[in-house]
Structures are given as structure tokens and as C-alpha cells.
Symmetry: C2
Subunit: 354 residues, 2 copies
Amino acid sequence: MDDIRFAVLGTGGIGRRTLEVATHRDGLTPVAACDRNGVAIDHDGLDVDELLDATEGNIASGPSDERDVAPDGGAAAGGVKQHGEQAGIVASDQGRETETPIDDVIAEADEIDAVLMALPNLEHDFIPRVAQRFADADYEAVLIDVLKRSRVIGMLEDREQRLVDAGITFVCGAGATPGLLTGAAALAAQSFVEIESVDIWWGVGLKSGYEDNRGTVREDIAHLDGYDIESAREMSEAEIEALIDEHDGRLEFDDMEHADDVLLERAGVCDAEDVTVGGILDVRQDEKPTTTTVSVTGRTFDGETGTNTFQLDDATSMEANVNGPAIGYLKAAVLRNRAGDYGVYGPAELMPTF
Amino acid sequence: MDDIRFAVLGTGGIGRRTLEVATHRDGLTPVAACDRNGVAIDHDGLDVDELLDATEGNIASGPSDERDVAPDGGAAAGGVKQHGEQAGIVASDQGRETETPIDDVIAEADEIDAVLMALPNLEHDFIPRVAQRFADADYEAVLIDVLKRSRVIGMLEDREQRLVDAGITFVCGAGATPGLLTGAAALAAQSFVEIESVDIWWGVGLKSGYEDNRGTVREDIAHLDGYDIESAREMSEAEIEALIDEHDGRLEFDDMEHADDVLLERAGVCDAEDVTVGGILDVRQDEKPTTTTVSVTGRTFDGETGTNTFQLDDATSMEANVNGPAIGYLKAAVLRNRAGDYGVYGPAELMPTF
């Protein structure tokens, strides 16, 4: 395939790691990245090493407001890594300050094949609204996100005709779960004629990645009993630390709201209510506290009941399992887009490309 | 999706089971089936139960020659289930005798969305030649096969431009392995930036399916040490039985020629030589002699080495794992075809649709 020129919106953990993983994969040129304060654009290809070095531990963040980009890990009020005007991409030689980072990327869209939205989406409709802005600018290429929440999918579907009219191929939920594991569930289902249940169980050890992934941890906390998006969003960093202490660094989640359910229903695999997602997050060790496993139980045409399984090696990090698939789905979506297939796709509808 | 009208060429084990599995899945209408002596066509939908009942244990077969269809399980000289002129589809109320079954199906191609070629392909180029005939008739729809041998893929690629010109979307190797397991390997690879090895290991217990799957068993024998396609093809049924006796009903295969290798290379996952396929076939029990497992070992962007795995429950039969995915890939291919994507696809390029 021809070279793919891509942009990343948001340079928190997911955006940064996607840039890094992309340097290991063929046929990808990162041409733009932005955070809330700045943008870096180079159509000959960004210097990813310089960008990552300059922004390491220096992520632009600030109080959640109506500004343009709320980067992963920083949108919450009082992010500990706020460094004022010189935070984030602006600290890179390639970056420049801007009040309108997303509009600056949209202005270059003619020369961009795919945009990964690595944004925390603490407001439910943030990513759908950003997609709408690309459509309004008649962007004709790929948008992809790694969002988690089920309710966002419907908001994207509501905008699907507008995306199709613009010529956008949108892949939603294209990380690990939803993403890689949703795809694995759709494949594992093929042995059966009726699916009884899909159980997705993940383990994440995040000691060394904790600083970069505070936004993700905050999103996860919203899934704990007694918490929701609003209350998690309003927690101070100290409150989050206290909560983590209380659990000895280890948070267990049962039956989370994860878009795997609606994405598998969209693909016709099973009803959303037959899908369960849970897992264990340990922020004090890098070893996974449990093995990430997808179990698909169904009935075969010849009357047997069985469970097919997909397991990720404990040695593969969350970053490897989110960002590798994100790039794989991005590449697959570019092929679809070039063939004229527009609209909203979930990972169970699209085999990622290596 | 709109209803898919499909045909099956060959009514050996794979063709028969595909018709049966299709009755359990949504949106599929079987409109044509043929074997070497006969054809059944009904654009309102074949009566699958009647067709299967009438042909059970009564598969049309005969010496391998230049006749039109060599059905799975019967192409070898002296198939035990030969029943003369009244064998196979002709025994069904819906069947009629014909000298040109494939041409009879091609003549109806305007009203067919997909054709599954469940043919044994004992001559390497049999399936590619049949595909060529569909292309020559300007068939504009989907062709799909469940072939196993690596060398056939290249023959299809040689004809790819002709298939594209006609408007054909061809999916090759879309059964279990290659097929479901090739797709699983491509997904499992997404955690890594470099693949070291893909190991596919299958177990098949075929006691009750043995009669229907003699063609498949014969093809497998060709992979044993000391045998090849030619010598397996020339074995009498008695010689095959003697060979099976010698192994107490259990044949173990190591490093078979299986198209998973070239199909994964085509998809950019790894080099063909890094793929190993083997397994154990037991024709005297239905229990699987070993658990079917795909293991993908690779290196992550952050320098770890790991092995992701995909396992099929021992309770899922070979038939469930071949014919379910075949239908899933067929459905996915119809979507591609309707979007105007023509050419040759492997299972690692296409997420099957449930």
C-alpha cells in the first residue's frame, strides 16, 4: 500500500505511544500532532524521537474547559503535570503555540490520510463533535479513536450520514478493548451458530506507565461501584491516590460499560447484554495481575456447546495491545477509504492490517 | 445486509455441511448445488433438508477424469460410495442429471451473489481453472474456496487481473486452517511489531464424519512423510485403510504445506517460512486428539517477547470450524463485492461477518 500520512490528536499516553509504535511499522509517516496548547506539523514526517523526548513527563494539561484539546491524562482539573504555557508540544522544536490546535490540523487535512483521536472524551460527545468538525471541513479520509464507552457509538451513528457524505471512514473503539479483543471475539464466534456469552477479562500492570496514563486510570475509576463519569472527573489527584491506596494499588472492575458490547451487537455477533467486560488494573507493578482473556461461548450447528478463547501473553504491555491494534485498524481503514467505503466501522467489522 | 443467494459446487462433506450450517445463519439463501452428475437450482431457495437426506451416504463420485466436478470425497479412483448414474444430487427431487454441472450454475450466475467451491482440487490448478471459467462468463460476484495448499494461491494471483476485470471478489483458504486460524494469527500479531513465528496446531476427531470426508483425509495423507499429492491420489481405498490401521487410526502431521503461510505473508504479517502448521487426525474417535491452538510469538515495540494464543474448544467439530468461518468469510466478501472491491483476498485480510 502507498505510504499513509497520519496525525495524532492528543499526546497523552495513547497518542505518544502510537507515534512510537508507528516508527516500528511499515508505511506510516506521522505528519501532525497536537495537544491543548500546541501543534506540530511536518508533511515530510515529524521527528518522533525529538517530539517524545521534549514532551516526556511534560504533558500539556489544565482545567477541563472549552479549549480545543483536552489531552489524555491531563483533562482533569489540576493535572499534576501542568507546566503552563511551555507544556507539551510547544516544548518541542517542531511545535508552535496555537489557540486552535484541531483547526490547525484540519487546515492541513488534504495531505493527511488518517487521524487518530487519542483524546480522553470525558464529555461523552467530545469525540463525536470533533468528528463532526472534520466532516464539516469536508475531510475525505480516515478518523479513528480508541474510546471505551458504549454510549458514544450511538452518537457516532447519529452522525454517520454526515461522515459518509464527507467521505470519512470512521473506526471507533480500535484499541485493545474495545479493539483487538472485540475483533478476537468476532473471530472466535465463527465456530458457532448462536453465541451465549462473550467474556472479556483484562489485566493491566501500569507501574511505569502510570504517569502517562492518568487520564485512562481516571476513566477506569468511573467504572468502579459507587463512581460514575461525573464523580471520577471531579476527583482531585489526591482523592484518586487515596482510592488507589485503599485498594493497595489494585483496582478490580466487574461488568464495566465498555463498547465491546454494542460493537459486537453492531456486527451481529450477539446481543450487547451477552457481553461482559471486566479486569484488574495494578498501578504498582508492571506485571499483569491477571491474564487478558477473551472467552466466547456458543452452540455449534451440530448441537455442541463450547468456549473458544484468545489470550494475550502477560509479557505484552497495555501499550503494545492498544497501540499496535490501533495502527492495524488505521491501516485497514485507509484501504477501505481508498476503495470508497465510508461510514462508521467497529473493530469486529474490520480485520486490522499488519 | 440484503439476503445473499449462494451456490455450492461439490456436495462432499464440506459442501453438505456448508448448506446445513447456512440454515442456522441469517440472511443466506442456498439457490444452487451441484456434483459431478447433477445440479439442483431453485432461486426461491433449495430445500436443504431434502437435499441432504437424499444424498446422505450417497455421494456422486467416480474415477478422476476430465468431467466437470470431482466432488469432495469422491474424486479418487474407485470411491466406495459410487452409486452409478443415480448417485448424489440426482437422487434428490430437486436434482437433475447434467453433463455440465458447473456451466449450468454459471448460466444462472446473474442471480447468484456467492459461490462456494467445495471441490477437492486434487489437480493443483482445478480451482483456479474453475474461477477462470466464472470470470470468462463475466460473473460479477463472490467466489470462495476452502483450499489448503500454498501453491494454489500463486495460481489465483496469476489470474487476479482477470478476476478484477470481471468484478469477482475471490476469497481463498476460508475454512478453518487456512481460514479461521489464519485470521486469528493475523489478529494475535497486532500486539507485536515483529513476528518471530506462527504455529498452528490442530486436532480433528473424525469418526462419525469419516465417510463424508474421505477426500479431505486423502488430501491430508499427501502431507505425511513419504507421500505427496500424486501418490495419495493414486492410493486405493484399501491402501488408505491399511495406512490408517498402521497408525491405529491416528495420523500426526508436522510442518504441512498449508496455505496459512503464504496467506499470512500476503497480509504482511510475517514471512511464509516463519509459519508452521501441523496436527493430529483421529478417524476412530470424535473427541479431538489434541486442542487446536494458534500461537503467535513476536516482539513488542517496548522490547518484550511474548506468545499470544487462540484456542478452539475441543467440543467444536472440524465441520463447525470449517463451515462456520466459510460462511462468515463469504458474507464479508459479499459486502466487499457490493462496495466494488474486487480481486483475491485471504482470510487475514478480511474479518468474517457473523
